[in-house]
Symmetry: C2
Subunit: 333 residues, 2 copies
């Protein structure tokens, strides 16, 4: 029992393929009686228009794709939810694919945009070099989220990572910390911006970083533990450590606690993202809330504009407001 085609429906309904197509696409130029006959035939044959044929003719797919390294990041999963909701409202199907940081896999997925498998692309954390992102955005509909290449061609949505790191570092200083350390991720552009904000806040207070550690491989709970161990091995402990993510901060807190020290009394810890991990941690983490859901929504809006909008593409970045969330992993006042 092969798939029914528009021809089969036309024959069954006793009309022409043109009429069937018109019914399918809600054209008003169809009589009620034809509409009914076609609807009946469609039901009878369990007909669905073949996507590839439709896409070929229409020259668009009504599908958009998001690429990220991982799926298990709370920020990404939340941003994708916003993206997906906005996409659905506009009649688009949204898909996501993890690249695992593998360039070849990423290329294969980006090719889906190049070969018209999807109409638009969201990049969360590209592995490819910046100039490739730029070249891609030059021709096709691409929007970056969280990690943004500062480019003419590409459009991006994120928080102001530098400012956010600045804000939370200032909070650490305000609560009395003088010897500050940082555990960051230099592999990510956002990580470098956060380092910058961290250093600016310090130098503005007349301080310098006591220690800055950067993960080499993954930036996760275990990395947090490992790097915290290095902090604990220092001759004189810092007062506070700013971590580039909640997950890493949680690892940090865990290692400190296991060593018999107390957070925040012996060593304050600050995270980033305000993911569920910040609340699961004991003590709960002071962190920066990223408006991930909204970032996703805004990203889709920008993508839609690029896909359908007039020639003049909107460019540059959009920064959404972040929020300092103060909890018990840092000292009071």
């Amino acid at each position: 029992m092969a798939r029914a085609t528009v021809q089969d429906v036309a024959k069954t309904a006793g009309v022409s393929v043109g009429t069937v197509s018109r019914v399918l696409n809600g054209s008003p130029a169809v009589s009620a009686s034809s509409r009914e006959k076609v609807a009946g035939a469609i039901r009878q044959l369990n007909y669905r228009p073949l996507a590839s044929a439709r896409d070929l003719r229409r020259d668009r797919t009504m599908r958009v794709l998001a690429l990220s390294k991982n799926l298990d990041s709370p920020v990404i999963s939340e941003a994708f939810r916003g993206f997906g909701d906005a996409a659905a409202e506009a009649g688009y199907v949204s898909l996501i694919a993890p690249t695992s940081g593998d360039l070849e896999r990423e290329q294969q997925l980006v090719d889906m945009l190049r070969n018209g498998s999807v109409d638009g692309l969201i990049l969360f954390s590209p592995t490819m070099p910046d100039e490739d992102v730029e070249a891609l955005a030059e021709q096709l509909s691409v929007v970056q989220v969280c990690e943004i290449v500062d480019s003419e061609a590409a459009f991006g949505v994120s928080i102001d990572d530098r400012q956010a790191a600045y804000d939370i570092t200032r909070h650490l200083i305000r609560t009395g910390a003088r010897r500050l350390a940082m555990i960051g991720n230099q592999a990510a552009r956002s990580g470098r911006l956060r380092e910058q904000g961290f250093r600016e806040a310090l130098s503005q207070a007349g301080l310098t970083a006591e220690q800055t550690l950067f993960a080499t491989g993954t930036f996760d709970f275990h990395a947090g533990r490992r790097l915290a161990r290095e902090l604990l091995a220092m001759d004189r402990l810092p007062d506070a450590v700013f971590c580039g993510s909640d997950t890493v901060a949680a690892g940090c807190v865990r290692e400190i606690t296991d060593a018999g020290l107390r957070v925040p009394d012996d060593l304050a810890v600050a995270g980033f993202d305000d993911s569920i991990q910040a609340e699961m941690c004991v003590p709960e983490l002071t962190t920066i809330r990223q408006p991930a859901y909204d970032m996703g929504r805004v990203a889709f809006q920008a993508l839609l504009e690029r896909m359908t909008g007039p020639g003049a593409h909107r460019r540059g970045r959009t920064f959404l407001p972040h929020e300092l969330v103060i909890r018990d992993s840092t000292k009071i006042q």
Copy 2:
């Protein structure tokens, strides 16, 4: 600058479209000189075959899709990694889309299989009724993972949830627990199987459940806390509580600890999944390891068989071995 077509490439290379297509598809029936000319033209025009045209003609897309409620579950993200790796090895592109438990969204995504946007579908946690899954699997290539409808037509991969719950409950009993409680998720088929295993282990030991609580909305950290509060309000505390997920167990541990009680001395806690949360928890959780990555791989293999295999489809379920991971949230010996 419109997209180049196979016609353009043919003209530029000075050959026919047939030859271009043969080069694209690596047919041996092309002379070296033609091959070179075509390769040059492709590079010059930056040509990519249009997916929709190719898919239409070939009647397949080399794309597969996975559907799940959420993205942020560690089991799902890991299973999808296995699925994606296996897919890539076979030359398929794998995509994932969250449904948010919304039936309409799910239908729209399932339609991607019906209308040939993808060749196969993996279902992690369908929202649609069982008979719909079955009807779908009757006609098209569908494989279930984790949550499996026990059907003739559908093929599925999971662990033996009943047995796993039985095993971990027996461990609780072995370590001295007599008054056991459970916090589960009756909304999921796997949750119901786990409840069954829990009860079987109890009755085999001549015990009955002291308390069984089920989440009504989401099954997450906060739900764990909320339900743990109910346990703590009982006249006489249970010895141990089996939770249907690590995340919920973590919430449970947190609530118990905040109440000034100690895990496992006052109340032992067991989780499920062996996700990173099990290690982030203090004390770390005794739990059941699901071979999520392998489940994903096996699921793709099954899907591939359904997509390309001969008429006789493999049916039924495949159970992969789980593993009891003993940590500090349960008593020793």
